[in-house]
């Protein structure tokens, strides 16, 4: 299982890639593996807003529904519509093609409590 060092992570199993004021968000390798085959995704509209620690969408495997929690607050600059038609990409490439939304972050402070790859890995070891 991979946890790229250049990403930040949350305890809700999302990853964040920060580039200036833009945060790209997806779910981690651990999350996709726990879910199993992802078959359905709901994402917010472009131009909408998301709130830190609040649900911004849903992923469903054959068996279960899971909320997606936003790691940051801000406005949705871009949505990856391709994964709505091909949700299996989330299993195949969680950190690459399966990014979910890009958020224009309002407050840089939002990023300060995100976990590093090491911290996240330690967290999921403890959670198991």
């Amino acid at each position: 299982m991979e946890f790229p060092k250049d990403l930040k992570y949350t305890k809700e199993h999302e990853w964040v890639k920060v580039d200036g004021s833009i945060a790209t968000v997806g779910i981690t390798d651990y999350a996709q593996d726990s879910l199993g085959d992802v078959v359905y995704v709901e994402l917010p509209q472009e131009g909408g807003s998301v709130t830190k620690n609040e649900p911004f969408g849903v992923v469903e495997s054959v068996k279960a529904v899971s909320d997606l929690y936003s790691p940051v607050s801000g406005s949705v600059a871009e949505v990856n519509d391709a994964i709505i038609d091909s949700p299996e990409v989330i299993n195949d490439d969680p950190y690459g093609d399966a990014w979910m939304i890009r958020v224009e972050v309002h407050s840089p402070n939002d990023l300060s409590d995100l976990l590093s790859a090491e911290e996240y890995q330690k967290y999921i070891e403890e959670e198991k």
């Binding site: 199993g36 085959d37 078959v39 359905y40 709901e42 054959v62 068996k63 529904v65």
Partner: protein, 341 residues
């Protein structure tokens, strides 16, 4: 039994396209034997075991006097003095006690700890089983069983039954032999692409067929008539619960079990509300994404006065359109064959 091995969709498609092996040893087995066995069994069952011959099995419900379902099970008829009920894991204790309490004149034994059960399911099942069994498995007719020998010396009950809608077998064998037979079946099936199957695919496979699952479509509060299982109820025999079921069959029921397929995106799930023409009409009892159709399917109870075919399933406060449809949602090779006969 784990939720999944290689993945629910992968396992599901293996059973539909080739073959899958399930360890369903959690299922319960209750034997009723002795001179009074036939009479006791007939009083317990909604179906009629006198309509089948020795060596045949039958799907039935067991009901309380109020028509609520104790359990749904398959009854194996060895002869008129020996029957074996295969009951749901979570109901084993309850069902075996119910059978005991209503079988005066017969001996009732819960043999669950002694039996392991493997289910071999899929169009390649006959080929996979053939090298292991002392009898040609293609000779076993649908819903019949034999006492066979596996791998030369292991005695087992082998029935042509299953919970997937595919051709296949359910094998009851001593617990101590289960691992060896599992390995032998996996070896025999390798050339056909056999896969081990978990609970997740067991559920999607049965849902595509519209088979009920106790705790979802059946319960102590639901009768077989409400669940649309009238063809497994044979009236005029004096079985437990008959009066209530007869009345429901004559006068109709307030709620009806329907199957449905989603038209809008979204996956129905247990507990989601169903609306018809803007009115609250009922609830989803089971739902999933159908791996064969790649669409949401489900079952649920609706108010009998409100008829589809178009219904709405409330998915996270969004009304998603669906059409009621009589299962099966997927036509297996086995069903195509049966329809042609």
């Amino acid at each position: 039994m784990p939720v999944q091995y290689s993945g629910v969709i992968d396992e599901h498609l293996a059973v539909r396209g080739a073959c899958g092996l399930f360890d369903v040893s959690h299922m319960g087995e209750v034997e009723v034997s002795g001179k009074g066995a036939l009479k006791a069994v007939q009083r317990l069952m909604t179906n009629d075991i006198e309509r089948v011959v020795d060596g045949q099995c039958q799907y039935t419900l067991l009901c309380y006097p109020d028509g609520g379902v104790v359990d749904d099970c398959i009854v194996y008829r060895f002869n008129s003095e020996r029957f074996l009920f295969c009951v749901n894991a979570s109901n084993t204790e309850k069902a075996s006690e119910w059978i005991k309490a209503n079988s005066s004149g017969a001996l009732v034994e819960d043999l669950s700890p002694e039996y392991a059960q493997l289910a071999l399911q899929g169009p390649k099942s006959v080929e996979v089983l053939r090298p292991l069994l002392d009898i040609d498995p293609s000779e076993i007719k649908h819903f019949h069983f034999v006492m066979g020998e596996l791998s030369g010396s292991i005695e087992a009950i082998v029935s042509r039954t299953g919970y997937t809608g595919e051709d296949g077998f359910e094998i009851y064998l001593p617990v101590a032999d289960a691992e060896a037979v599992w390995d032998a079946l996996m070896d025999s099936g390798r050339q056909y692409g056999i896969k081990p199957i978990g609970l997740g695919a067991r559920d999607t496979l049965r849902l595509e067929m519209g088979y009920p699952l106790y705790g979802h479509e059946l319960s102590e509060e639901i009768t077989p008539i409400e669940a649309g299982l009238k063809k497994y109820v044979r009236f005029g025999r004096g079985f437990i619960g008959e009066d209530v079921l007869q009345k429901q069959a004559n006068e109709g029921v307030k709620k009806t079990l329907v199957g449905f397929k989603m038209k809008d995106p979204g996956i129905p799930r247990t507990g989601y509300e169903i609306y018809i023409g803007g009115k609250a009409a009922g609830k989803v009892t089971s739902g999933t994404l159908s791996p064969s159709l790649n669409a949401g399917i489900g079952m649920g109870f609706i108010d009998s006065a409100l008829k589809g075919p178009e219904i709405e399933v409330m998915i996270r406060n969004r009304a998603a359109k669906a059409m009621t449809a009589k299962p099966p949602f997927y036509q297996s090779e086995l069903q195509t064959k049966k329809a042609a006969v």
